[in-house]
Amino acid sequence: MKFVDEFRDAELGRALSTQILSELEPGRHYKVMEVCGGHTHSIYKYGIDDLLPPNVELVHGPGCPVCVIPMGRVDDGIAVARNDGVIFTCFGDMLRVPGSEYTLLDAKAQGADVRMVYSPLDALRIARENPGRQVVFFAIGFETTAPSTALTLKRAKAEGIQNFSCVCNHVTIVPPLRALLESPDLRLDGFIGPGHVCTVVGARPFQFIPADYGRPIVISGFEPLDILQSVLMILRQLRAGRCEVENQYTRVVPQEGNLRALEVMSEVFELRPHFEWRGLGFISQSALKLSPAYQEFDAEARFEVPNVRVADPKACQCGEVLKGVIKPWECKVFGTACTPEHAIGTCMVSPEGACAAYYNFGRYAREREAV
């Protein structure tokens, strides 16, 4: 397929790998964070780590929405789902994220009507088909997903649908990046930027990374050659003493983003004063809630929710993994008590979570090395 096959060419990958070698400064160790869970998944799936020299280290960032959702928010969702007559809808991975006691999948097994959807528009369709029942969508995701929720709510309002509401957990990517850059225990040389988030928001929101923190960022596609080329572009910036936002993913990402999507988002959402991120704590203005014009669709106002903060399990080190302080395999419970089948931490739930991606693909390379 055009724009897919060309970016998986092994020969071109090896050529990029050679070019990367030629850009390295002797004796320097490079730490590059890929912000997005989709990049993490591709890196492990295609063995991109293996094509990089040992002194170029890829660090996995907080860009997986399932991984950063705190347990208290899962408990809120379960509480809503357990209301009589409610049809509770969410993306598939959300079902297996542990709350303080249960997952949404447990709640479903216990009798709650919990359904997976591919799109919030599917949840709205379920509401149209079930006018006698309340349908709730558990909205998660960064700026790539928020427009689809906003569009859904706009349609619900236009159609006068009264049995639809949403638990809004949408988050924004810039505040956690700023928090990471302020973190004293993490030294990063550059960032691989989130390609589809930038399709919506454009490149401008990331200018603060070179401007305030002196680090380069390259907005990247998700195919193996995209990621290798982005690493090369970061290394070239570092070698040349440049520091800017570059766009590797020009075939998709327009400089200004999707203005229509941004307009719909600003109509439907407004920033929360603060929001809890798993492993990162409370971050100011890092999440979205419904704007006053859309309050009627706020499930947290329509239903009673516990709204209690729950501490992460002590054994789980998702926080350190999400900050890139430790690698997945350095977590005490990785691959033993915590596996994709029985996840303790959120990073093991989604295939894009650093722990699950590494468990599914990367661990074999390490096992080979050990032998």
């Binding site: 397929m1 055009k2 997976m116 528009l121 790539t144 979570g353």
Partner: protein
């Protein structure tokens, strides 16, 4: 390249059944965690919905409210059933 569909106009996958609409937990990607943007080719357009074909030639209903007018043959990048980017490839 996605092959041009011929003959009878294709229908989108039946999203009326919950199973068809599901984001399956055992699938390779989670659309939101993967920041997924799936390239699809527009097959037909009706008001704010386009029938689009993905790489495997599966057909999907896609909301096109956020990308403006699209035509059959154009490519869109789709996330969660909504087109977030439009690339005109025909002509």
């Amino acid at each position: 390249m996605i092959a041009e569909p011929a003959g009878e106009q294709p229908q989108a996958t039946d999203t009326r059944s919950a199973d068809a609409a599901a984001c399956h937990a055992d699938q390779e990607h989670c659309i939101t965690c993967g920041d997924e943007g799936t390239p699809m080719r527009v097959v037909s357009v009706e008001h704010v919905t386009a029938v689009c074909a993905d790489e495997q030639l599966d057909f999907h209903d896609v909301a096109i409210d956020l990308v403006g007018p699209v035509n059959a043959g154009d490519e869109v990048i789709v996330h969660a059933g909504v087109a977030i980017r439009h690339r005109r490839l025909t002509g």
